[in-house]
Symmetry: C2
Subunit: 604 residues, 2 copies
């Protein structure tokens, strides 16, 4: 056997695992032009099955990276949810049809379904265009984190040492081992995370009692809601039907323990079950409707999921875990891929800013505080939801069964849409002056609204002015600039911002700013002359917006009122991930100075 | 000199000239998978200058070919028009700002500006993906049309003979001449059309008295409407400012005869003028505002345009002319490229259907009757508009000058949007039963409206269900299917359509239909079960739509009322180019049989 050759290399960030969490993170960092590598043990990319629901908030996030257009083109939109319950004549009947998404501020008021392989392709193609490829058939064999406190606190050091091994070399080829010295490592390596195990991070929680089967197929059916999300409680078990791209559907079916548990091991045994048996169970729960597969069953599995959250999401802010590596739960609330991608989205900008030297290492602590809190909320919701879903229907015989009303009510929260995610106060989320912009909630994402560009009355969605480009956005709500008193306040604010000690000057970089100034005035497009604004507020003609309807009067306007901003205006700092970070009055630029001083660094 | 080698070839359609008319036609025919070639004398594609305004209707047409998304991404949208007139203190002042597009039914209520080279690229890339390339540096040297009536009336014959010569061969290379035998030839070869001259087609009309200069530049300016369309009447001449992509603007400036007419020849002489002189004239008309060019002037020209229309648009329905070859007019109504592209759009499906053997040659006569009528209307509008634009402003000294009110009123017609185009009754446009669908005007394009897909409540724009795919669309407005009487009428209509002699059976092709059936029901998405419809009305689950709001109640609904369709329903045949062809009541399928019998052919 040839002697292994050891090669050493350095990288800013090494990501282990090219699933939704790892890919979201890698693509974001590639966009930030940060030096990133991503490895995966699989020899080729995923082509089918697995998680496939994208929530309204995740679509917004993908849009912020310019990826939603393709997602919407390729995927299947799910607008309605249909609820079926036992009928008095046996079988099931329609109880209710309702909007599938109940979050009123959702920009995309629907979920989309697309198989995970196609979603991963969207990231992979974007990364390729940015010069980053997944290194496949590659596994980490050891990981070590320096114990030297000086090294750990110096953001320019490489304190993580990971040995990588290629799995696709034949016995005869010289074995090449690579030792990667990384500033940061992200483990997006799934529910059985190797990284998590190396650092003895425990998973807190428990296994659920319910066992489910899943099949993907093209159906021949007379079930009227085959193209809607259908939530079915029957006297023959519960099932969940989700429409998919290309006329496919996916069905989740509750299975009986005796049919799937191996009596010797006490564990779920896939050998005991076949896709035909799963389908037969589904057919029973859907009676009197027919459900026949047109061709073969495309994919299937069975599972009983644990509802667990990792005890920590990071080791010394140098090694992070994300996605299934830090939370596992049932797929029925449609959150698996969404939680994972949003972990990556939350983490990427923080690492990028630290690597650029713009932010202090302390910013990285907010990854765990924000995302672990979310994961705990998710597990709590998932437990409640799974129990209701798997519960027997309320009948005369079963008086503590699940009532259709209670089930519907639980469905209609805005938790599953992702829109409700609310990060608590931290170094990155201020907790003052909420009353100045009650519709821009500190720690929540900026809700969508349309404004007109002042120079040309071209309508813009505000969310599209907040791309994930690693800049902080300053939304400057000037109020009525034509009111002389308000104009004076705006001009005074501009002077404050231009003072040497203000955050704008303090954190200025030689080539470009860390801030994108977006001015939103109150007024009428037919009357307002944007050239009257101080030049700081119009670095380019395209940076000034007006809270007015479009040229035909069909949409837009009332944005101040929607965001709860009064005539006195407000300054709003939006984080690079689209979440509201700080709000101050126009005459207190110092509030923003303090917000940024808490985590921003002056370039060395 | 080497002896020329003569090669003979056959092609269904040969297009001469790869400008907007030729490219629209070639791309459409490539989409139809028809055997088409296109040649152009220029060695390379256009990269700058020339016509650049795309009207709302043309955007809709491009969308029907799947090309609008890219156009909208690359272009500059023009939403507002600003009107400036002489102020009492000298110089100009803002009189009015108004919507740039006044057609209330426009799907895209704005114009877009993009240089012609970029627009041509959109077509060229689409054609490349369909396997058709422009053959450049190639000119026709002779054209002959057969005089044999049998040959001329046989759609499978090749009665046009065109000799082509390559211009890019060196003296030493063997000269290769090609004789192309074509079923049809389209001349999109510009204002000085060679094709038109070969057939002695006269241009009727006259030269205008007004001479204009044009410059493209990136301005440094304090003019508030530099990003809107600005129509300026000043005491120093009129000018028109149009914003463009990449911060560019284009300015049209009226010039004085003495500055541009060569006294010897009496003709416009570009040598007498420089871009700096044109800009200086513009600067004068814009006073008191400053207009300074930031870098060099990107493109410029001067012109005095003739307002002329060709006496015929076709020779024996075998050779056609399109675009500038058949109409020339001023660019100030923004119609040049639009008229040309819509010529190509109107002609392509007619030729494609004849070549497929689906339509009789007589259908081709409607090209001239529809497009020449439009061209005459365009010239009439352009004369009025140019005169108003070039006219001196109304002042105390000049009491028969142009009043701002009159100018604005003329601006606010829906002619320039292209939405108003109305083809008169012909073999392709029926004139009966308009009252059954008063909002779907026979001979006009189908206005946009959103409907929900019945199976999944996914919203669709009806125009997106009418792509330029060479099929006739049958919009079946069933009315309230849940009303038993109406249900009986619908079922009876379906039986009529399935009779052996009905158009559906008469013109059925072995592999696929010439018709796309789109069913639009009245009802509520929460209640309606689309599986109750007869199968003819739901060839696929995606073909049934419901006139209701979207799942969140934000938009949609009231489509029956918008289209003027009553509770009794209606059958509407839409031509492949998106124009309404025929309307009948549900109980008179015979009306559609008669409409199609007038030009459709049974496959041999």
């Amino acid at each position: 056997m040839p002697v292994p050759f050891v090669r050493h290399s350095e990288v800013d960030i090494l990501i282990i695992g090219a699933g939704p969490a790892g890919l979201m993170c890698a693509n974001a960092l590639a966009n930030a032009r940060v030096n990133v590598r991503i490895v995966d043990q699989r020899a080729s990319k995923l082509t089918t099955g697995q998680g496939d629901g994208i929530s309204p908030r995740t679509i917004e996030v993908l849009q912020s990276y310019g990826l939603a257009e393709r997602l919407l083109r390729e995927s299947c939109q799910v607008h309605l949810a249909a609820f079926y319950n036992p009928s008095s004549t046996g079988g099931i009947e329609l109880t209710n049809r309702t909007s599938n998404v109940t979050a009123p501020s959702a920009r995309y008021p629907f979920e989309v379904a697309l198989h995970q392989g196609a979603i991963e392709d969207i990231f992979l193609d974007s990364m390729t265009s940015l010069g980053v490829e997944v290194e496949r058939s590659t596994i980490p064999t050891s990981i070590e984190l320096s114990k030297d406190e000086n090294e750990l606190t110096d953001p320019t050091s490489y304190p993580v040492r990971v040995a990588l091994q290629r799995l696709d070399k034949s016995e005869d080829e010289p074995r090449e081992e690579e030792i990667v010295h990384a500033k940061f490592v992200v483990g997006g390596d799934g529910a059985h995370s190797w990284i998590r195990k190396q650092f003895d991070i425990t998973m807190d929680g428990e296994q659920s009692d319910f066992i489910w089967g899943v099949v993907d197929m093209v159906p021949d059916t007379d079930f009227p809601d085959v193209r809607n999300k259908s939530l079915i409680h029957s006297n023959h078990g519960s099932s969940l039907l989700i429409p998919r791209e290309n006329d496919h559907i996916r069905i989740y079916i509750q299975l009986e323990d005796k049919d799937v548990i191996n009596p010797v091991t006490g564990r779920v045994d896939k050998q005991k079950m076949s896709p035909e048996q799963i389908l037969a169970t589904a057919q029973k729960s859907l009676e009197p409707y027919k459900l026949i597969q047109k061709d073969e069953i495309l994919w299937w599995t069975i599972y009983s999921i644990g509802q667990r959250v990792a005890s920590k999401f990071s080791i010394k802010n140098r090694v992070f875990i994300a996605g299934d590596a830090c939370h596992t739960h049932s797929p029925k609330a449609g959150q698996g891929m969404n939680a994972s991608m949003n972990d990556g989205h939350n983490l990427a900008w923080k690492i990028a800013l630290v690597i650029r030297g713009w932010a202090d290492m302390s910013l990285l602590s907010t990854y765990e505080s924000e995302r672990r809190k979310f994961a705990l909320d998710l597990i709590a919701f998932d437990k409640m939801w799974s129990t209701l879903f798997s519960g027997k229907p309320l009948t005369e015989q079963n008086s503590d069964g699940v009532s259709p009303e209670h089930f519907l009510e639980t469905f209609q929260t805005d938790f599953t849409s992702g829109i409700g995610i609310h990060y608590h106060p931290s170094v990155a989320v201020n907790d003052r002056n909420q009353e100045l912009a009650s519709g821009l909630v500190l720690g929540k994402r900026v809700p969508p609204h349309k404004f007109m560009r002042a120079a040309d009355a071209c309508p813009f969605e505000l969310q599209d002015l907040l791309p994930s480009d690693f800049l902080f956005k300053l939304l400057i709500f000037t109020g009525e600039f034509s009111d002389p008193l308000q104009q004076a306040r705006v001009e005074s604010m501009v002077m404050d911002m231009q003072k040497p000690g203000s955050f704008l000057n303090r954190y200025a970089t030689p080539s470009n700013s860390r801030f994108d100034i977006i001015t939103i005035i109150k007024g009428q497009k037919e009357r307002f002359d944007f050239l009257r604004l101080p030049t700081l507020l119009r670095s380019h003609w395209s940076k000034v917006f007006i809270d007015d309807t479009d040229a035909t009067g069909s949409f837009g306007g009332e944005g101040y009122s929607y965001y709860g901003v009064g005539s006195e205006g407000a300054l709003v700092a939006v984080r690079p991930d689209g979440y509201v970070g700080a709000i101050t009055p126009l005459d207190h630029v110092g509030g923003l100075n303090a917000y940024f001083a808490a985590f921003m660094k002056i370039l060395a």
